[in-house]
Amino acid sequence: QKEVEQDPGPLSVPEGAIVSLNCTYSNSAFQYFMWYRQYSRKGPELLMYTYSSGNKEDGRFTAQVDKSSKYISLFIRDSQPSDSATYLCAISVGGAQKLVFGQGTRLTINP
């Protein structure tokens, strides 16, 4: 069983839709949860990170963590074509320590 499971997609939605991206993990020792966005031929860009259960909002993006279910989500509101990218979840036991990445979900927003 992988430590982090993420549906690779691809996921295609119309512009303006709400997008939901999800990961599950197996080890309850994981405490830090991150979402990265990676455009084609670029390095991963940190979108959000949190170390507690609950929601964290930043503009059109909301990260949600449910430690009891070992389930994390990223919601994108009012999705734009510029949001088309691969989204990677990453988790760690101790912040900037070893990150374990999900497989990444390829997202396309259609105009």
Partner: protein, 114 residues
Amino acid sequence: SAVISQKPSRDICQRGTSLTIQCQVDSQVTMMFWYRQQPGQSLTLIATANQGSEATYESGFVIDKFPISRPNLTFSTLTVSNMSPEDSSIYLCSVDSSSQETQYFGPGTRLLVL
């Protein structure tokens, strides 16, 4: 966030040769990391580059194949030695944030081994 640059951005190499990738950060950082991203795959940690001591390698990665240097708090190199086509990947450098709660990534080095 830190500004991270990598050189070269891409290269095409012959099997059996070695390539050294450089990672430069615009500010001093505590931790630097090297990842590999194989085609269509996610990121896998190769090693943590420690300033003033040997790098710490993850399972499946060895120093003879991926020697790493970290001469100061803003610079590190990763060498991919005796390359084979299986080493064709994107190699990414990352650094810890000032709060040490997350990591920031460089743009990556795209390597193709023929």
